[in-house]
């Protein structure tokens, strides 16, 4: 047996190289050059080290790697990066994917089975990717009598609303997509969208089970929005601001859950209901109404709704962290960036590499991100846990819980906050 | 029907089986080994209705009464009110094409009377059978026992669709198990043959 494949011919080897070269040049000429021109003419490039960034300059990265980091840093300062990658969609989607994996494995362990196991070498870690590919490749079936534009739009709007929610969450000091002064009000406004999207999707499907599911979702979300809003007012009273970054920053000494445990509990229960998690998964109650308002959604439309649901899950958990658990605040655990690399560079034998632009993130930012992620994952864990323990409750029990008990508890929470404020213990000008 | 000549394994413990399709003579009630309690039940019915009922057999825990279709309602009422039987376990239809009759057998039991807990009273009646049945619109009719034993509701619906016996007085004579568009013979009749058999 020879090492070279039996059909090896030198001429074909040369031909394959020439083929690849041809396709590379063709694609570069057709796409790459116009792209460079578009960037040259239409995009406003940042100024780095006193000179305007041009495509020519960008191409010099290849020759001089030390220019890479400043450009990267300037890119990280843009809104696009914030929206698409770090505190925004990409970061949240990554955490959501992790959530799905953890949920499946944890539920499997609770139920004495193994969960996803084969897809991906390690413990089925690629199962989610496989599921996503399957959903993308599936046919999308629209009910014949559906109101098609709304039915098509609903899953997209759902993901959009979830992404808007994420945009309001501060992850680390200064790291937030939309740092608005009325952040909490904006959160309430975005939450108010979800029941509308749900009922629109359900109603436009023109089918009975989605309709019942949509009505249930409407009842559930509307009746739990009121205790949700009321339970957060205690925090607002004590901090005197609606800006989420300021609320998080105000908890540098102690998180608000120490003083407002009632509000935290009410908020946690309303999170479960807003997210349609077991035991509050009535809008998707399988044995009663097939899949509730998701019944007629197929293929990637269903996948989008699931994506939106898990983004929402992350956003609510993050909101809980920001409001009650102190956001990014925590003791410094991140090791400081070694000074020598900035001042002297990396010495590898005879060569010394100095990399300008380090560090990318400050130590405080990285530490804040770590604490934020740890706390968020903890809250997500507690949101997932009831699924293995509780059965589903009934709509009348749910409504009486929302309207009688949680609203009452939320008012108790407000009175605690007011008491603390007027006693002069906490709040603006308080003792602590 | 071709009669089998060979004898099968016969049970010694049973009494002589009476010819089932047409029980012409009364069973020999004066036989010594008849169970006492069951004989008492049969005697009560015979005492009340006399010649209208025929006791087909009395076995341990099982008493079978054959009644004509005119009297089945009265006998069932007597069984419920006087003998404390309170529910029907099963309603079975049996087709006898050579007699041109369809037999409907009620198996009646009791939950409330602990002395009757072992007992099943078998009440059998017969409806005329037609060669070309039009279920619901022919002479194959019987009075429904639903007003006496409530539990026969679904059983009688099943007998109606499977054998074409219409139960007069049943509030809900609809199909139960068969498809709604079934237009063939009632399937449990003997002339409904399975293909290839």
């Amino acid at each position: 047996m020879s090492v070279i494949a039996p059909k090896f011919k030198f001429s074909e080897f040369v031909k394959s190289i020439l083929d690849n070269l041809f396709w590379f040049l063709l694609i570069f000429a057709l796409i790459g050059l116009p792209l460079v021109q578009i960037i040259l003419f239409y995009i406003e490039m940042p100024v780095i080290d006193g000179e305007l960034l041009t495509p020519f300059l960008a191409l010099t990265w290849l020759a001089d790697p030390s220019r890479t980091l400043p450009i990267l840093k300037s890119f990280m300062a843009t809104d696009l990066f914030r929206i698409a990658a770090f505190p925004g969609f990409g970061f949240a989607a990554l955490l959501a994917a992790g959530t799905i994996f953890v949920e499946r494995k944890m539920l499997a362990k609770l139920q004495l089975r193994v969960g996803p196991f084969y897809c991906g070498k390690i413990e089925g870690i690629l199962q989610l990717m496989g599921d996503g590919l399957k959903l993308i490749s599936k046919e999308i079936i629209i009910p014949a009598k559906a109101d098609k534009p709304i039915f098509w739009a609903a899953p997209v709007i759902f993901v959009g609303a979830a992404a808007a929610f994420i945009a309001l969450i501060p992850v680390a000091p200064g790291w937030v997509v939309a740092d608005v002064d009325v952040g909490l009000l904006a959160v309430f406004a975005v939450i108010g969208f979800f029941p509308i999207i749900t009922i629109l999707s359900a109603w436009s499907a023109n089918s009975k089970f989605p309709f019942i599911g949509g009505i249930r979702a409407l009842h559930q979300m509307v009746s739990f929005e009121i205790p949700l809003i009321l339970s957060l007012l205690g925090v607002v009273i004590l901090t005197g601001t609606l800006n989420l970054s300021e609320i998080a920053a105000s908890q540098s000494n102690f998180p608000w859950i120490v003083f407002l445990p009632v509000g935290a509990i009410v908020f946690f229960i309303t999170i479960l209901a807003e997210l349609e998690r077991i035991p509050f998964d009535l809008p998707e109650a399988e044995s009663e109404i097939v899949a509730g308002w998701l019944t007629e959604l197929s293929g990637m439309m269903y996948g989008l709704v699931q994506l939106g649901t898990y983004l929402k899950l992350y956003a609510f958990a993050a909101l809980f962290v920001v409001l009650f658990l102190g956001g990014w605040n925590g003791p410094m655990i991140w090791p400081p960036f070694p000074e020598e690399i900035i001042t002297k560079g990396i010495e590898a034998g005879p060569i010394t590499i100095t990399i300008p632009g380090l560090p990318l993130f400050s130590q405080e930012t990285l530490n804040g991100i770590v604490w934020f992620v740890i706390k968020t994952v903890g809250v997500i864990f507690f949101i997932l846990l009831p699924r293995g323990v509780f059965p589903r409750i009934r709509i009348d029990m749910l409504l009486s819980l929302g309207w009688y008990k949680l609203i009452g508890l939320a008012f108790v929470n407000i009175f605690i906050a007011l008491g603390l404020l007027y006693a002069g213990v906490l709040g603006p000008g308080g003792m602590l | 029907m071709s009669e089998e000549k060979k004898e099968s394994i016969e049970s010694e413990s049973q009494e002589k089986p009476t010819p089932k399709p047409t029980p012409t003579k009364k069973p020999t009630l004066e036989k010594v080994n008849l169970p006492e309690f069951e004989k008492g039940l049969a005697d009560k019915i015979v005492e009340k209705f006399g010649e209208k009922t025929k006791v087909a057999f009395v076995k341990p825990d099982r008493v079978r009464i054959n009644v004509s279709k005119e009297n089945v309602h009265d006998v069932a009422e007597f069984i419920r009110d006087e003998l404390n039987f309170d529910h029907a376990e099963s309603v079975s239809g049996v087709d006898y094409p050579q007699d041109k009759e369809i037999e409907v057998v009620y198996h009646i039991g009791s939950y409330t009377d602990s002395s009757l807990a072992r007992q099943i009273l078998v009440l059998a009646t017969r409806a005329p059978r037609e060669e070309n049945p039009i279920p619901g619109n022919d002479a194959t009719r019987l009075p429904s026992l639903r007003d006496i034993f409530y539990s026969v509701e679904f059983h009688e619906r099943e007998v109606f669709e499977m054998l074409g016996v219409y139960f007069e007085g049943h509030p809900d004579n609809r199909r139960l198990l068969l498809p709604e568009d079934w237009a063939d013979l009632p399937p449990l009749r003997k002339d409904f043959a399975i293909k290839g058999r």
Binding site: L107, L110, Q111, R113, I212, I278, P279, L282, A285, E286, E288, V290, G388, P391, R392, I393, R394, I395, M397 | E3, E4, K6, S8, I9, S11, Q14, P19, K20, R62, D86, H87, E89, S90, S92, V94, D95, H107, Y111, A117, R118, V122, N132, I134, F149, Y150, S151, V152, F154, H155, E161, R174, R175, L177, D181, A183, D184, L185, P187, L188, I194
Partner: protein, 377 residues
């Protein structure tokens, strides 16, 4: 056949605010049947069960096969409970043919029957759990069931459809060492099912959901002729293993659980309590069983019954299961009728669901211990 069609599933004329829902046959919460539900808001105003989607004509098929060939297909209605569903037929054929079964075979039958009852109830319980949205209660029974299925596999060679009972005894003797393995597994099984109380039967949400829903009073339970766990949950102590003991049940020491409430919670608890009694029966039977002896009486080939009819009944996982066999001196039964517990309990469904909330429909429906395939036969 120019027969005029009888009225189909004629629904009641209803007014505008009432919505008709077809729950099933393709619905995660219906099984192989359809429940036509009319709802006014969240309340069920009328309900019409429509079984028959898995009707296979077992009774007609039985008229074409002889008494031995009927064994495999008659256990198909409930493959999880195949020993119990075959039991009355086997008893009836034995009475028709006048066979006396060896003592050891009777004990083996009781053990197999109780194992099968547990296997069936575990499957039922798993589905009851998922009907209430409790996914852990779906996985645990489905997994613990395997313990007993392994035992049945040891005993009969098949995991579900055993065809182990034959007229005259059981097909095979127990494998060597079966008693020890059985005792060990049953003891572990009993320990496991006691843990279900913590996660399921004592769960406050479950109790709040199922208590005082779908109440079937004692009078109604008797009047509707319900049977099995439905009847015993309504306070009627009627279990054929006690009331009309077949085989060796009169020599064994056990109780039949009875609850008085008659709601879905009681109906769902009775099978669970039943399983513990089954474990007790199995242990008891293993101790009392003759250690050796014949397990089967050889029959003549193609046996024929007399000109007679028998009605035999046993207590299956779903209640009393009766088998009415009419014989006419031929090798095949002239008529065979299975009166099954599922079919008898189904009649209670419209009465229980009327006025109930839609959210209670799965729990009430499944608490009736209803097995659609068995009801259709």
């Amino acid at each position: 056949m120019s027969a005029k069609l009888p009225p189909g599933l004629a629904l009641q004329k209803v007014d505008e605010r009432i919505m008709t829902l077809n729950v099933g046959p393709q619905h995660p919460g219906s099984g192989h049947m359809r429940i036509i539900v009319q709802i006014d808001g969240d309340f069920i105003v009328a309900c019409d069960p429509d079984p028959g989607y898995v009707h296979r004509g077992e009774e007609k098929m039985a008229e074409y096969r002889n008494y031995i060939l009927n064994i495999p297909h008659l256990e198909r209605p409930v493959i999880h409970d195949s020993c119990n569903v075959l039991y009355p037929y086997v008893l009836g054929v034995e009475e028709l043919l006048g066979i006396e079964v060896p003592e050891r075979a009777k004990y083996i039958r009781v053990i197999a029957s109780e194992l099968n009852r547990c296997i069936y109830i575990m499957y039922w319980l798993a589905i009851y759990g998922i009907f209430l949205g409790h996914s852990t209660m779906f996985m645990w029974p489905a997994g613990d069931r395997e313990l007993l299925i392994d035992l049945m596999e040891k005993m009969s060679g098949a995991r579900v459809t055993h065809a182990h009972f034959v007229p005259g005894g059981v097909r095979n003797d127990l494998p060597p060492n079966f008693e020890d393995v059985c005792l060990r597994q049953v003891n572990y099984f009993e320990k496991r099912i006691k843990e279900y109380a913590a996660v399921f039967y004592d769960n406050p949400i479950l109790i709040a959901r199922t208590e005082k829903t779908g109440i079937l009073s004692r009078q109604d339970a008797i009047r509707l002729g319900t049977t099995g766990s439905v009847l015993r949950a309504s306070g009627v102590d009627y279990d054929l293993r006690k009331k009309e003991p077949y085989d060796v049940y009169d020599e064994l020491d056990f109780q039949t659980p009875v609850l008085k409430e008659g709601d879905s919670y009681a109906r769902s608890k009775i099978p669970w309590l039943d399983m513990m009694e089954s474990c007790r029966i199995i242990r008891n039977a293993l101790a009392k069983m003759p250690k050796s002896g014949s397990v089967r009486v050889k029959l003549k080939p193609n046996p024929k019954g007399g000109d007679d009819s028998v009605y035999k009944r046993v207590e299956s996982g779903r209640g009393s299961l009766g088998c009415y066999i009419v014989s006419d001196k031929k090798p095949e039964p002239y008529r065979l009728k299975l009166s099954v517990g599922s079919f008898r309990n189904l009649i209670a469904l419209p009465y229980l669901l009327k006025g109930e909330k839609l959210g209670n429909m799965p729990s009430v429906y499944w608490s009736l211990n209803y097995w659609p395939v068995e009801a259709d036969r």
